[in-house]
């Protein structure tokens, strides 16, 4: 693809006899917010480390902004901002000093940019305190600050929402959406928090056991799940599932059934005729989680 900011082709990573990554290929394009999800041990962090040059590639290529990470490392990494595993900050320095030191390593970051970034992540009041005094959420935010400091065109975030309260998560989400939409920043986020991802990612890459099992947009993923799912609240679930085939008991008061829309009146009629009281009927939203579970065959997440 022409405007692929990050392009991985046929990545293999072997440590000894163990194959950690098996033929991993992915792309992140300009303006994308890609959710990179998979169970623990699937290879998310390893893939990110291969992309950022922190681990050696056994075979395959990684290109960032059309520069090969192995041949042209400094050019490839120049426009990359990343947090890998956890924000790596110097505890004994202040937040400001941390940012200042990173600013010195690039030639496009001046004092006003540092102040701007501090404002963006909302750390103006505490930026001069030592990082050891920060809460985890503040460190996360400072981590994002250092990642966007040099105006990268690709942000790679390894579980950035860890330790953030709902307010913080919301701020990060809005920030990332803004960066992607207004500044055309490409974003690759790995996470376990699937419900969060589905609200702002536009693409999803699912990895399991070192292999990519799915690459698609959120819409397509959900649409893949055939049929609709409905939840009915009634007073006698046991009787109900005897009457309606394929219905499942969810809890004491609810059953779930997958069926077409046209079947709904028939179902309601059958239940009423059996003297069952119906209190509520609604369409079940397909969450990314269930879509994910379907794809990965029900492996436990996280």
């Amino acid at each position: 693809m022409e405007n692929a900011v990050v392009e991985c082709n046929n990545l293999y990573k072997k440590i000894g006899k163990k194959t950690i990554l098996n033929n991993v290929s992915l792309q992140v394009c300009k303006g994308d917010i890609v959710g990179f999800i998979g169970p623990n041990g699937a290879g998310k962090t390893t893939t990110i480390k291969l992309i950022t040059g922190l681990q050696k590639i056994t075979s395959g290529t990684v290109k960032i902004n059309n520069y090969d990470i192995q041949k042209d490392f400094t050019k490839a990494i120049e426009k990359v901002g990343a947090i890998v595993e956890s924000p790596d900050l110097y505890m004994y320095l202040s937040g400001y000093d941390n940012l200042k030191m990173i600013a010195k390593l690039y030639n496009n970051v001046n004092k006003s940019r540092i102040d701007e970034v501090v404002k963006i992540v909302g750390l103006e009041n505490r930026i001069n305190d030592k990082v050891s005094k920060y809460s985890l959420g503040m460190r996360q935010r400072l981590g994002i600050a250092q990642a966007i400091l040099h105006k990268p065109n690709i942000l790679i975030l390894d579980e950035p929402n860890n330790g953030l309260d709902p307010e913080g998560i919301k701020e990060v989400r809005e920030l990332l959406i803004k960066l992607a939409r207004e500044e055309g920043m490409a974003v690759l986020i790995s996470s376990h928090n699937l419900s969060e991802l589905e609200t702002f990612c536009n693409k999803v890459i699912i990895i399991q056991n070192g292999e990519i099992v799915e690459t698609s947009t959120i819409k397509d993923l959900k649409a893949d799940i055939k049929g609709n799912s409905y939840i009915i609240e009634l007073n006698d679930t046991k009787k109900a599932i005897k009457i309606i085939k394929n219905a499942k008991i969810i809890n004491k008061e609810n059953i779930q059934i997958e069926c077409e829309k046209n079947d709904i009146p028939i179902i309601i009629k059958k239940l009423v005729e059996a003297d069952i009281n119906i209190y509520r009927l609604e369409e079940e939203k397909i969450s990314l989680e269930s879509a994910f579970l379907k794809k990965t065959g029900g492996n436990k997440i996280g």
Partner: protein, 485 residues
């Protein structure tokens, strides 16, 4: 690269270890200054004459011996002499220390001479008179400071002895020729020293000229003895000191005074360079790589647009630069502190004596120039310690081991030197790093401790190890997979 180094330096000075080390250095310098300024070096304040048990011991010993008996005579004479010496020292215990020192150096021989004639079977009257006269002059000199008379008489005796030994040499056989040559040299030295004392008018008063003369005299005596048990390198140093003392006499410069800012600063900086800077450079280079790995902050460095070797080299250079900065900081504070304790003028007045082995002559230089030369010549050693530490640190990502290895290396160096000195079959150890890592031993043209080592050889070995360790470290650093924390 400059930015990388700047960041590394900031990281080091933001933490407490370096500040504590410098603080310790400052405390040490203040203690040093106090000790030297307020505590006399009257180390000859003898305590043993207050302890009468020693005198009793010799008295009792003396009672058991019979001077008439030939086998007991030597012991009797020795004990009686010691007893009389103790009494003499006791008499002068409250006087100036130089008198006490003078007694310790000269009186035993004089008293011994008297007693050995007194209790010998022959009892030569003339010799006895002469010996007693010498002793009397000695006592006179002590009482009245009539040192010139005393020295003249000693000189006459020495000239006589020289004449005798020269005559003996002419009639020497192959067997005792060497021994007699040594005796002649010894006597020539005695004459020279006494002549110098008279010519330069140096009383036995512990002044700097007296001290210089004593250093020259005892030093050259040691060199002439050429005792097999003393290694050549130690003899070289003794000779160098003696030559510096001679230079001090010739130019009448006070090079041995210790109670001044200049000398105190020099001695203090010797310790700083040898110990404190080693500690600083080892700690920094041992932790500058592995600490970041262990804390995970290395990741944040490695995703910046810099090649890995640039990052490694920046860290290595930082260790050296911080050490140099620390040296300058400590040095500046020391100059001020010692200047305040003594006098800032001292730095201009009191110079440091230096012996040049190449030309065989001594000269003096300004203390700052001297300390500067010492520091620069020690830098290769410090850099090698850093190289070893950072090599282990890069390879194993373990700070503790990286600190321990160069320290163990300094201990191993002692063992290796001992092996090299004693056993020919360990000669291959000369290719190891430790006999060659301190290039400062070749300062001022000084020959190496062993004759199979020289500056060029050491330099080549040093460079080989240096290139090898640095190369391996960078190779490893470039190849390393950053593991999960």
């Amino acid at each position: 690269m400059v930015n990388l180094i700047g960041n590394e330096i900031k990281k080091i000075y933001s933490r407490w270890p370096i500040k504590i080390i410098i603080l310790i250095a400052v405390i040490l310098m203040i203690v040093d200054a106090i000790m030297i300024k307020y505590y006399n070096d009257d180390i000859y304040q003898s305590t043993y004459y207050e302890d009468t048990s020693m005198r009793e011991f010799y008295e009792n010993e003396l009672k058991t011996l019979n001077p008439e008996n030939e086998s007991e005579r030597e012991a009797y004479i020795a004990d009686k002499t010691t007893l009389e010496l103790l009494d003499l020292e006791n008499e002068y215990r409250n006087e100036e220390s130089w008198k006490f020192e003078c007694i310790t150096k000269n009186a035993y021989q004089l008293i011994y001479n008297i007693n050995s004639i007194k209790f010998s079977p022959e009892k030569n009257k003339k010799e006895l008179e002469q010996a007693e006269k010498l002793y009397k002059n000695f006592l006179n000199m002590l009482k009245n400071n009539e040192w010139e008379q005393y020295t003249r008489e000693m000189l006459d005796v020495a000239k006589e002895e020289l004449k005798t030994s020269k005559e003996q040499l002419e009639n020497a056989t192959e067997l005792n020729k060497k021994e007699l040559e040594k005796t002649v040299e010894y006597n020539e030295l005695q004459v020279e020293v006494l002549q110098l004392r008279l010519n330069k008018k140096i009383p036995y008063d512990g002044s700097f000229m007296d001290e210089a003369l004593n250093i020259y005299s005892s030093g050259m005596q040691t060199v002439l003895q050429d005792n097999e048990n003393i290694p050549q390198s130690a003899l070289n140093e003794v000779r160098a000191d003696a030559m510096i003392a001679k230079y001090a006499l010739d130019t009448e410069k006070d090079l041995f005074n210790h109670k001044n800012a200049s000398q105190t600063y020099k001695n203090y900086m010797d310790v700083v360079i040898e110990l404190i800077l080693s500690v600083i450079i080892i700690i920094i280079s041992a932790s500058i790589i592995s600490d970041e790995f262990n804390k995970g902050t290395i990741k944040q460095l490695l995703i910046r647009p810099y090649k890995r070797e640039q990052i490694w080299i920046a860290k290595f250079l930082t260790a050296i630069i911080v050490t140099v900065i620390s040296m300058l900081v400590i040095s500046l504070i020391a100059i001020v502190v010692f200047g305040l304790f003594f006098s800032f003028k001292d730095y201009a007045i009191y110079n440091i004596g230096v012996y040049d082995y190449n030309s065989g002559s001594a000269y003096c230089m300004n203390v700052f120039a001297y300390v500067g030369i010492i520091f620069i010549s020690k830098l290769p050693f410090l850099i090698m310690l850093a190289t070893i530490a950072i090599f282990i640190s890069t390879l194993l990502n373990n700070t503790a081991l990286a600190v321990a290895t160069p320290l163990i290396g300094t201990i191993a160096a002692e063992i290796i030197n001992a092996l090299l000195a004693s056993y020919k079959k360990f000669r291959f150890l000369k290719f190891f790093i430790t006999p060659n890592w301190d290039l400062s031993v070749y300062n001022f043209g000084k020959p190496a401790q062993f004759d199979f080592l020289n500056f060029r050889f050491s330099l080549i070995i040093y460079m080989l190890y240096f290139v090898m360790l640095i190369g391996l470290s960078i190779y490893r650093f470039k190849k390393e997979d950053i593991k999960n924390i």
